[in-house]
């Protein structure tokens, strides 16, 4: 029996960059001048670039969001430190986020994937979803989460682009991304 309940969430707001990516926010030299999570790894495995956007109900990309990813290495192992974790702001003009990482391997009977966590102004509780990879069709077909997502599974599948993968995340609309309660 839980003794107390979880602390309630509140939005990260429009100034999340100050706390989480202060160099991006213009706080020169803060924390040694390097934003935590800006450089992932080093992880063994084939390097990829993972890009995407977060689109609102009007189809406009969020230019003030913060995106984190968490992933296994190429051998499907998580941890034991922070090398499989990355954090990037969406670009202030284009809204694009960009991670340089390695393609994860399959872990625990799941198809290769990245956990994606999104916070921003207007998002009251951080949103969790996943990016799977379009060129892993066989593994994807057997993945329990994609199977459970049914005809909306494609919203979690990143498309191959030169040097990596791209996934647009839709907060609303016909193509609304599957967000996970986990």
């Amino acid at each position: 029996m839980a003794e107390m309940k979880e602390t309630p969430s509140q939005t990260a707001g429009p100034y999340v960059h100050i706390g989480c990516v202060p160099s991006f926010a213009g706080l020169d030299g803060m924390y040694g001048g390097a934003d935590l999570g800006a450089r992932m790894g080093p992880l063994p495995g084939p390097g990829i670039v993972f890009t995407g956007r977060v689109l609102d109900g009007d189809g406009a990309p969020l230019t003030d969001a913060l995106v984190e990813i968490w992933q296994a290495d190429a051998a499907g192992r998580y941890g034991p430190d922070a090398r499989g974790w990355g954090r990037q702001p969406t670009d202030a003009e284009t809204g694009q986020f960009r991670f340089e990482t390695v393609k994860p391997g399959p872990a625990g009977g799941q198809a290769p994937h990245l956990l994606i966590w999104i916070v921003a102004r207007g998002i009251n509780l951080g949103l969790t979803t996943r990016a799977y990879f379009a060129d892993e069709a066989d593994a994807n077909a057997a993945d329990p989460v994609l199977i459970q997502a049914g005809d909306r599974a494609e919203t979690m599948v990143a498309q191959a682009i030169q040097g990596g993968y791209h996934l647009d995340i839709h907060l609303q609309g016909e193509a609304e991304t599957v967000f996970l309660d986990v």
């Binding site: 979880e6 509140q10 429009p14 922070a82 609304e176």
Partner: protein, 239 residues
């Protein structure tokens, strides 16, 4: 590996809270898909104390010019990181950010007419100790107006970003100050369904940690999701 208790989503603010206008176009309209926890969510990044610089948790000096200090009422914000089962959560990264004493953020998108403080950056970070305890030295942030369609003012607040043992516990929230009348007027705060939940975000003046002739202290404990209760017979079946 820890399996976490389900999150009570009705305790948190809903995705769509129309009085908070920014949520209207940014709220998913479909219910989130409940899935079984996997290793992906049960694990998360681990940060070592070697990450930290000596002044990272001291916002009064960590962006000040040499020999200078931030302007405003000096405070200590401290507390413990716990889980829903009352266990301390040690070794976890906590990051905070806030406006200065005049209610202005050091951010290019904040155009509020209150001036920047040349000696205040507005961010800090620390790692919880063996008892789950954390502490930041900072200044009391000011309330400020914000564009939400009317005459809306944010209560004085500090943003908190917290990591747990697994990504399922990841949390961002805001801490408010005891006695602030703006708490009851703020659409962001009031998006939280119950007064009991809102009360959990209100830090209390803590005279026991106040430093005479120096600073006042506020206490704010943070609770992350607990572990899933596992009946003994299920444990046997699973092993």
């Amino acid at each position: 590996m820890t399996e976490f208790a389900p999150r009570d989503r009705g305790w948190h603010p809903p995705a769509l809270a129309p009085a908070y206008r920014s949520s209207i176009l940014r709220s998913p309209r479909q219910a989130p898909l409940r899935i079984a926890q996997t290793e992906t969510e049960r694990t998360g990044p681990v940060f070592g104390h070697d990450l930290l610089g000596p002044d990272d948790a001291d916002l009064i000096v960590n962006h000040a010019r040499a020999g200078q200090m931030a302007q405003g009422p000096r405070i200590l914000v401290h507390g413990r990181l716990l889980d829903e089962d009352g266990r301390a959560v040690p070794g976890k990264l906590i990051e905070i950010w806030q406006a200065n004493a005049g209610g202005r953020y050091r951010h290019k998108r904040d155009g509020y007419l209150a001036p920047l403080d040349p000696d205040f950056g507005g961010c800090g970070r620390g790692i919880t100790d063996a008892d789950g305890a954390y502490a930041f030295r900072t200044i009391l942030p000011g309330p400020y107006p914000w564009p939400n369609g009317g005459n809306d003012w944010r209560p004085a607040h500090i943003h908190f970003s917290v990591f747990g043992d697994g990504f399922a516990q990841r949390l961002i929230t805001q801490m408010y100050f005891e006695g602030d009348p703006h708490i009851a007027l703020c659409p962001i705060v009031q998006a939280i369904p119950s007064d009991a939940a809102i009360d959990r975000l209100v830090a209390r003046l803590d005279m026991t940690r106040t430093v005479p002739m120096d600073l006042r202290a506020y206490r704010f404990d943070i609770v992350l999701r607990g572990r899933r209760a596992t009946p003994f017979e299920n444990q046997r079946e699973g092993t």
